[in-house]
Every structure is written in C-alpha cells, then in structure tokens.
C-alpha cells in the first residue's frame, strides 16, 4: 500500500493539530480537499468518470456486456468490479505489489452494492434466466495521495451516472425462440438510476478525534479507521473497521454519526455537479487529462 514514513515529532504535530481542529493543510476535521469531477472522459466506454481529490486521481470506466444472469438471481443483471493499481501511481505497486490493495477496494465496492436499493439491478435484466447486462466497472488508480476509497466511490457513482446502455428489443419467433435486437441509435439508450448509489466516507481515528479525507501523512498517524458507505437518505450499506488498532464503542458511535452526516452532505453537490455537466453537454470544453 502506498504509505509514507514520518517521524515521531511529525506525528505529534499532526495529532495535536487534529485535536485543535486545524490540520496541516488548514482544513477542519470534517473538511474534504477540493475535488474535481468530470464524466465521459474515455470514448470507448459506456460510461466513465475521473475524480481528482488533492493529488489522488482516479479513473473509472464502465463497459456493458451481455451475459447470463446468476443462477440464484435469474431476474437481475450484475456488476463486476476490478481495481487496477498500476505502477504508474507508485513504484510499490509494481508486479503484484498492488494486488492486495486492489482486491481490498474491489471487495468493498462489491459489498457496497450488495443490497436491494443501491442500484436497480432488475433494470439490467433483458430476458430472465437467459440474458442480462453485466456492467464491468474498472477502476484505475492514477495517483495515490490518501483516501482512495472515498474518491473511488465518488468516481464510480459519477461513471454510473454517465453510463448509457443501448436499448434491447426482444422479439419472439414462432417456435418460441427469442431474438434480441440491439438498437444502434446512440440516443435510444437506457440510463441508470444512481440517486441511491452510496458514497464511502473513510474516517481515520487520530488521537481522540477522527478526520475525514486523510492525507497519506495523516493516515500514517492513524491506528484504525472506519469505512462507511452512506446513501443520500442516510442509510448505511457497508461498514468496515480497517487498520491494526481497535476502537472504543463510544468513538464508533461518534464516527458512524459523523460518517452519516458527511456522507449525506456528499451526495447533493455531486448530483448537482453531474446534472450541471449534463446540461452543459457538448458546449462544455472537455478537460480530460490535459488539465
């Protein structure tokens, strides 16, 4: 995992700063760094988004493919997540170095979507038991500067928002066989309802308080953090304690409280931004990777 080494005195400085609600970059404990979100950045995908948060830089591409529904859930499509930690981000990821982190992030993403309301998976079903859409969500970590999970979840939500799946018309022939016809009109497409897609808030316990959006230096001071996936209604779809330390129950309650408050507040500006971008449409000059 991408980590930095810091010495005891620096740790003390950061911890006292958190206690005084003034972090080294001037933020308060529950402030995010400023974020930049852009969708539709890779044209070969069905939906894509790029999120920058400080120096953390994440690119998500979504490809829709046709597959068979899972035998146990015949009337739903499904999502597949894959997180690639390329050695571009940090030399530590070279070879198999990033594998552990990648599977950790992707399993959190799976868990986050493993419920009824995050995404309406039934909409992805074409013919029950036979055909459904499978959304391959590929996450690329371009740069790591802490708080990968939050940035990833925001990028996934933005990418899902921009995903357009072509409409499929099912016609039945005389013998009962089904024929699928995929519309080639780029405007005849299906959008996903992303209102309820949760966002992840990572809360890192530093000293006696906790902070959101920890930088790498701050993460090095934290013994344990709590990951909470929150929907815009405030429902919690996934909680995880990560890190080598333990937490006392009181701080868990406090942290879930903060997580819910912050998580709820994260959705409104994101949706507003995504809609704003869509309204601008083609008039807006794409920034892409040259920003």
């Amino acid at each position: 995992m991408a980590t930095v080494q810091i010495c005891e005195a620096e740790k003390v400085y950061i911890m006292h700063g958190v206690r005084d609600d003034l972090r080294i970059d001037g933020r308060a404990c529950d402030d995010y760094r400023h974020m930049e979100v852009e969708t539709d950045v890779v044209s070969n995908t069905d939906g894509s988004a790029r999120v920058k948060m400080g120096d953390t830089d994440i690119l998500v591409g979504i490809k829709a493919e046709m597959g068979r529904p899972r035998p146990l859930i015949p009337d739903e499509g499904y999502l597949e997540f894959f997180v690639d930690c390329s050695a571009n981000a940090t030399p530590e990821f070279e070879g198999r170095g990033g594998e552990e982190l990648g599977s950790e992030i992707s399993s959190t993403l799976y868990k986050m979507f493993q419920n009824r309301s995050s995404l309406d998976l039934r909409a992805l079903c074409i013919v029950p038991r036979e055909h459904c859409w499978v959304l391959y969500v590929d996450v690329l970590l371009l740069q790591c500067d802490g708080n990968l999970l939050d940035a990833t979840s925001i990028a996934v939500k933005a990418a899902l928002f921009s995903t357009r799946i072509p409409k499929v018309h099912v016609s039945e022939d005389d013998e009962g066989g089904k024929e699928l016809e995929i519309s080639d009109d780029p405007y005849d497409c299906m959008r996903l309802q992303v209102e309820d897609v949760p966002c992840i808030v990572t809360l890192s316990k530093i000293g006696h308080r906790h902070v959101v959006d920890a930088t790498l230096q701050e993460a090095a001071c934290s013994m344990a953090s709590l990951i909470i996936a929150v929907t815009h209604k405030g429902n919690v779809t996934c909680v995880r304690k990560v890190g080598g330390g333990s937490l006392d129950p009181e701080s868990i309650f406090e942290m879930t409280e903060t997580g819910k408050r912050v998580g709820k507040a994260l959705h409104a500006p994101l949706m507003k931004l995504l809609q704003e971008e869509e309204v601008l449409g083609k008039r807006r000059q794409k920034v892409g990777f040259l920003g």
Binding site: I6, E10, D25, G26, V287
Partner: protein, 292 residues
C-alpha cells in the same frame, strides 16, 4: 464540514512579466552548436563534432563551457548546499539519508555533533547508540560536505544550526524552484521559521525560543504548539504549494509576500485553483515592484 466539488478547468499558468529574454530551451537530440570551440558540460554529448543536448532544459553558457540545466530533475547536490532529508537506514558508523537525489546520501557518525561538545571522541558506545540519536524516519537538516564519485552526497551536521528536526511540516517541491541564497534558514516575520533545502524539501517549524544547547540538538520537544503558530505554518505550507504550482522561485521574500497576499483567504481555500492564481499573481506583482 465543507465539500467543494467542481468540474475541472484548464489550468492556466500565471504569466510571468519578468521574461527579459526568451530562454534557450532544448530537448534531447537537439543540436546546440556545431562549433568545435566549445567544451561539453552536463546534459550534453558529442555527436560527430556536433554538441547535442541529452536532457530537456535550458542552455547555459559559461565562457566556452556549454551545459543544459534540466528544469525538472532530481537534486544534484553541490558542496555547501543545505538539504533537508529523512533517515532511511542506520548502518555501521553511518546513516543513509533520503534527500531527493539519485542515490541516498550518507551521514557519517564522524560528521555529526554528538551531545557533550564538539571535540569529543567517537567511542564504541556511540556506534551502539546511533539509533538513539537518529532513527529511521527522522528528519534532519544538513550541509553537503562532499560528493562521492558515484554522485552520492556525504552530509555533515557539524554546526548547531543543523541537526535533527522536531515538530513541523515538510513540504516537497522541485529542487529547481528553490533559489540559492546566502542563507537558507529564515525566521520569517509572520511568526514561523523556514528551512529552504536546496533539494526541494522545505521545513516549516515554529520559531524556536530559547535554544537548549546541552542536548546537542537531539532532544525534540513534544509539547503542543500553540494554535496561532499552527495557523501560520499551515498558511505558509499552502502558500509554498501555490507558488510551486505556478513555478515561482522560492526564497524568503517570495514566501513572505505570498503569505501576506493570502491573508484575505481562509487557509484551506488557498489551494483552490482560482485563489491560488490570484495570490500568486499578486505576489509576482509585488516582487516585480521590489526589483524595479
């Protein structure tokens, strides 16, 4: 809490006014001169009588010597440079220090000040307790004593101004952005001190009060630092990052001017692109006035 989300915008670099003459920039493979009367310096090679650049950067000419100074590079240390570095390894009689150079630098046990005065013999016990003075992860300020043939730097801390660093904040920028000056240690007027390492590592720390010289610089206070000092340090940190993002040379005056022009903004807002642009522009203006 605050969440600031936006669409990305193309970053413009604040135009520089002081561009007296266009710099002579080259990329690898560019022929600098075919005149045989020149000498080959760093960043160039000879290709059949033609002097050719091997790095992207600015051509510098000193009499008959031609070098290409890369604009973005790792730190190429020279004797006398002030550096800030982090201990990566404790070895027999030496520490390895990460200083943003190609190879880790070396700090010999014989080139540090140990507690108990300068003229003390290094004993076997000192070798055994090296980790008590400096251990992995500790930050130090030091001066380049010599450069080995492979390019690794040998450091020394034989002055009371150098040594282990205590509480503060490290900011990392490109080494070429740090202006060479007589002194790289400054007690800024705004209430904090700064060490501008030539290697691009900048250390911000509260201005020390009474120096406790007995400990020889190996005692670090873990006492909490006042909120006012923290605010100054955080603001300075963000200002330095803003200046670095817009490629303004860093030295005491530029940092201080930037600090002053950032005053109307909240500390956490300094790093927003539009605020950054505004204060860097203002800083440039003031620096120009001062020169002119």
């Amino acid at each position: 809490m605050a969440v600031d989300m936006r669409l990305p915008a193309v970053r413009k670099q604040v135009p520089s006014f002081s561009e007296a003459q266009e710099k002579h920039l080259v990329v690898p493979g560019d022929v600098i001169t075919t005149d045989v009367g020149f000498m080959r310096g760093h960043g160039t090679y000879m290709d059949e009588e033609k002097l050719t650049a091997s790095v992207a950067g600015e051509v510098e000419r000193v009499n008959k010597l031609i070098c290409v100074q890369p604009l973005k590079t790792r730190f190429n240390g020279e004797v006398g440079d002030v550096v800030v570095g982090r201990i990566t390894e404790v070895q027999l009689k030496r520490w390895k220090v990460e200083t943003n150079s190609r190879l880790d630098s070396v700090l010999l046990l014989s080139s540090v000040n140990l507690p108990g005065g300068e003229l003390r013999r290094r004993s076997v016990e000192d070798e055994l307790t090296m980790r008590d003075y400096l251990q992995e992860g500790d930050l130090i300020s030091a001066e380049v004593q010599s450069v080995f043939s492979d390019g690794a730097l040998s450091l020394h801390t034989r002055s009371l101004k150098y040594g282990k660093l205590g509480q503060g904040v490290l900011v990392q920028v490109s080494p070429s952005l740090v202006k060479r000056q007589k002194t790289h240690f400054h007690n800024l007027m705004c209430g904090a001190s700064i060490i501008l390492g030539n290697n691009g590592y900048i250390w911000l720390y509260p201005t020390p009060g009474q120096q406790d010289e007995e400990a020889g610089g190996y005692y670090t206070s873990l006492e909490p630092i006042s909120l006012a000092d923290r605010e100054v340090i955080s603001r300075l940190r963000n200002c330095i990052l803003a200046l670095a993002a817009h490629k303004v040379l860093l030295y005491d005056t530029s940092v201080l001017y930037c600090y002053e022009s950032s005053k109307p903004h909240k500390i956490k807002n300094i790093l927003k692109p539009e605020v950054m642009e505004e204060i860097v522009m203002e800083t440039r203006q003031r620096l120009l006035e001062q020169v002119g």
